[in-house]
Every structure is written in C-alpha cells, then in structure tokens.
Amino acid sequence: MADALAAPSAPLARPRALSWRALRFWCFRWSRTWRSTLAGNVVYPLVYLAAIGIGLGHLVNHHLAADHGAGTIGGVSYLAFVTPGILAASMMQIAVHEATYPVMGAIRWDYAYLGQLASPLRIGDIVFGHLGFIGVRALFASSFFLAVAAAFGALSSPEAIVGVPIAIVVALAFGAPVAAFAVTRDNDSAFSSIQRLGVVPLFLFSGCFFPIGELPEVLRVLAVCTPLYQGVVLERACSLGTLGAPENLAHGAYLLVMATGGFLVARRTYQHRLAR
C-alpha cells in the first residue's frame, strides 16, 4: 500500500481525450441510474403517440374525410403527421430538463463539476461532456421512439432513420443555450419559468400537433421563428421522405447555429461561474 500511494502521478493523455472523459462520466453515471429516466424519455413520448397519434388521430381522420373527402393532412394520416412532431418536441423536453436541474445539481447538490474541475479536465471539456451527454440521451430516446413509431406504421419513408441525427441536433440546439443560462443561476427557481414560458408554448404552437397554417397570421410568423418549428419541419421531412427539399438547409442551419452558439456561450458562462 505504501508504494501504491507514493508512486508518481499518471501521465497526461492527449488533450482531446479529456473531453471524452467528461462525456464518459455522464454516460457511466447514466448506466447506473437510467431506470429513473425511462418515464420521461421513453414512456411519455409513446403515450403521446398512442393517445394523440392513434386515439385523437382516428377522430381527426374521420372529420377530415367528412369535410374534405380525404382523411389526410397534406396527403398523410394524422398519425404520420403528428409522429415527427412528438419526436422533435420530446427532444426539446429531454434537453431542457437535462440542461437545467442536472446542471444546477452538478454545481450545488452533488458537486460533479467541482470534482471535474479538480481533475485534469478543462472548462471546455466539462461543457462538452455535459452537452455531449444530452446528445447521447437524444440518440437513445429518438432511436427507440422511431423504432416503435415504425412498428405502429407511422413512418412512410426509410429516410426516417435520418431523424436520429436530426433529433440529436434538435436536443443540442435547446440544451446548449439552456445549459449556458442554467449555470449562471444560484438556484433552480428560474427553471420552472423556462418550462411554463418556453417549453409548453413551443410544444403547443410549433406545428407538432396541427399545421401552423391553422394559426392566425401573427402567431404563424412567431411559430415559424421558433427553434422547435425548425426541428418539427425537419423531422417531418425525414419521416415523409422529403428531406431533399432545399428549404430544409435553412432549418438545419438554424438549429446548428443555436447548438454551436449555445456551446460557445456556455463555455464563457461556465468559465465565469466555475473558475472565477
């Protein structure tokens, strides 16, 4: 034991490896605690899919058929319409949740960031690790969701598989800026406002459940500007097999700018908060 403690310290690996170590931390931790995340990440989206996509969808299709002679929205069933919307919305929810309470927890409750700061990791690695983990969560949740949606026959194109990487981008577009904000807070009181004033209105009015063309002009313009709308449009394009449309580039760019910008801002706010 004596020499075990007094031996020289470990050599430093390549700097790039440091970022992966931070990500590995969150993944390892999740591997021990994933059961508690099942309800929010897996069950709820499927409940929405069943209740709204199938239950309400039946009614909607029926009405559309009675009014317009065809039981479809833009040529697809309500289930096919709403499935990508629910996918994009649940990515937002997972990301916002993961970028708020666990960020506060890592500062104040379990001090995970403190442990990381005392290790060789740098601020950029700490940010990369936590945001990367949001991406990992999105990867698992979207894959599972799409697999079930396929089994329900809610996807009409093999391009739907591209919905997985897009789901990761959607999650990061929300997670990065929200984490950048969350780390500046002294307590969690602002987080419920993010839910009430951000997540819930976006969830309802970004075209997840009905075409935004149904909204009055002002709300429609507002909806088009929201980040979730970009995600919904892209996910819908994937599941319908129309991803090649040129306007999708703009939607993708919007999300990438949010994710990258959020990461850069987060590096600054993390630095300010953790390494004063």
Binding site: M1, A2, D3, A4, L5, A6, A7, P8, S9, A10, P11, L12, A13, P15, A17, L18, R21, A22, R24, F25, F28, R29, R32, T33, D110, Y111, A112, L114, G115, Q116, L117, A118, S119, P120, L121, R122, A275, R276
Partner: protein
C-alpha cells in the same frame, strides 16, 4: 532550478481580486516536497481563494505562482493530474456506490479501468471502507464520507494533496482516524496542504503554517515557533470577583509577559503559570476559577486575528 525542483508550490505576490474586492492581497509562500503545510485564518481571510489558485481551479489576478514547477495559467491539466483535492463539501455522487465513486473519479485521470479498480480496492482498505464498497454513499456516516473523499483524492497517486477543512463536523474518533491517515500519507512523501479551523489539528499535523487575515499573511512558521513568538510557554486563565480584578491586574502586569482582559476572565501569558498564580494568591486574591495550560496555536491565532467575530 535545483532549489525549485524541491519546491512544490511557489507563490510571490499572489493576488486574487473579485471586482473591487481583494480576497488575497499579494502573499508570498513556498511549500517544499514532503511538507505538511497549513493555512489558518478566520472566515473570509482568503484561505479558500488561495487553495483554489494552488489547485489550479481559479486563475490568479496577479503575482507569480508555480505549482509542481509549472504555471497554472498554461499547464492546468498537467498540474491537476498530480493533485488530489479534498474539498470542504462532501463532493460525492450520492446516487452511486462507494466503489463506483472511486472508479468514476479515477477515469477522469485517464487511468485504465483495471488500474483504477486495483487502486480503488487498495484505497478502500486505506480508508477502512472495504466492507462498504457496494453501499450507496447516502448510507454512509459523515466520517465515512470524509474518508471516501480523501480516498478518492488519492486515486491518481497525487504528489500534492490539498485538504480544505477535512475534519469539520466529525466526531473525535472519526477525526483521529483521518489524522492517522494523513500522517501516513506524509510519511510516504506526499506533500499536504491543509486549511482548518481546528488549532489542535494544525498543531499536530503541520510542519509549517501561515496565519492569514484579511487577505494577508499575518505570521508564518512552525507551530511551536509561532507559539513561542506570539504566545508563551504557559497560560494562566483566571476567573475573579469584579472587586479582585484591579489587585490581580497590578500583580500580573508586573510579572506576566502579557495580560489579556476578557469580560469573563483574565488570560496571563508567561513561562510559568503556577508561579503567576502563586503571586496573585500571595497578594490576597481568591480566584473563583483557575486554569493553567500550555500556550497553544489558538492563542497565536486569536492574538493575530483578533477576538471579534467574523461573519
């Protein structure tokens, strides 16, 4: 260079400012390899800010700082890979087991899984937690948690261990076990830095220490040397009737090195406490309470940093 290679921490005019507030106001100190070095001081004296700069977790505002021979501004990750930090908070993951906490932490240092596992088991033995390996951290007592935090800080086999109030809130048995382990580390050649509010702890453990007050170093030296310089070999504490005070003070001012008047008692510093007591009694004073004790670091601390509360 030969001088520096034996110096683990070297600070000159080290300064930390937060906006207009100066937490550490240009302090000088150096810590040699294998030394057990203490930082004492009241709350807000700048101890934790100094610790954070030495641990390369917070950038300095001014001055020079070399840790393990490197500048934290440019070599943070390299320096930290050889530092073990025991923070004030039990910064443990309560959702994970004792063993997982060690495994997870070791992986930050890029250690292979197998190596981390071997070390984790050795450290659990060192911390007397072997039979708790599979327990959730939630179920541990305060003393066990502290030992686990210390064990975790050692997973990278650091040459420098920084302990920020490691025994605050522990019962005497738990404190003594922690001291024993820290002493063991010192014997193995590890350099240790300690901040504490417990003067007996600093006196027992530290080879050398500084007393900080309002961002400055008020005194530096070995515990016994500091006691000799700022206190005295013995201290006589007297509780007296109000009417007896003037007479006692007259005698004591003549014979003691220094007399401190407190509301409830007199503290008289000198080489021989019993002799001072005899003199007082000889003058016809009948004390209500008497204590003769050795001069301690606490006397030094109170003399240098004052008796008023710092909140």
């Amino acid at each position: 260079m030969s001088l520096l290679s034996d110096t683990v921490v070297h600070a000159r005019q080290l300064t930390k400012r937060f906006g207009d507030f100066t937490a550490v106001g240009g302090i000088d100190f150096s810590i040699s390899r294998g030394e057990f070095f203490g930082f004492l001081g009241p709350n807000g004296a700048g101890k934790t800010s100094t610790m954070r700069m030495v641990a390369c977790m917070s950038p300095r505002s001014d001055g020079e700082l070399l840790v393990r021979g490197m500048d934290p501004a440019h070599h943070g990750p390299e320096i930290r890979s050889g530092i073990g930090l025991v923070p004030q908070e039990d910064a443990l993951d309560t959702e994970l087991t004792v063993l997982d906490n060690l495994l997870l932490y070791g992986r930050y240092f890029g250690l292979p899984r197998k190596v981390v596992r071997e070390r984790a088991h050795a450290l659990l033995a060192f911390a007397q937690l072997e039979d708790r390996a599979g327990a959730k951290v939630d179920a541990l007592s305060g003393g066990m948690r502290r030992r686990l935090v210390i064990a975790r800080a050692l997973i990278s086999r650091p040459e420098l261990v920084i302990l920020d109030e490691p025994t605050t809130g522990l019962d005497p048995q738990a404190r003594h076990l922690v001291w024993e382990r820290l002493y063991q580390l010192k014997q193995q050649g590890v350099t240790l830095i300690l901040t504490t509010h417990y003067m007996d702890e600093a006196e027992q453990l530290c080879d050398r220490l500084v007393v900080m007050d309002r961002g400055q170093i008020a005194a530096e030296g070995a515990p016994r040397a500091l006691i000799a310089k700022y206190s005295s070999r013995e201290v006589l504490e007297l509780r007296l009737e109000a009417a007896d005070r003037p007479r006692a003070l007259g005698v004591l001012r003549e014979h003691a090195e220094r007399v401190e008047e407190l509301t409830d008692r007199l503290c008289c510093y000198g080489d021989d406490g019993d002799r001072l007591l005899e003199l007082v009694q000889h003058a016809g004073v009948r004390p209500q309470g008497v204590l003769v004790r050795r001069g301690s670091l606490e006397d030094v601390f109170l003399r240098l940093t004052g008796r008023s509360l710092v909140d």
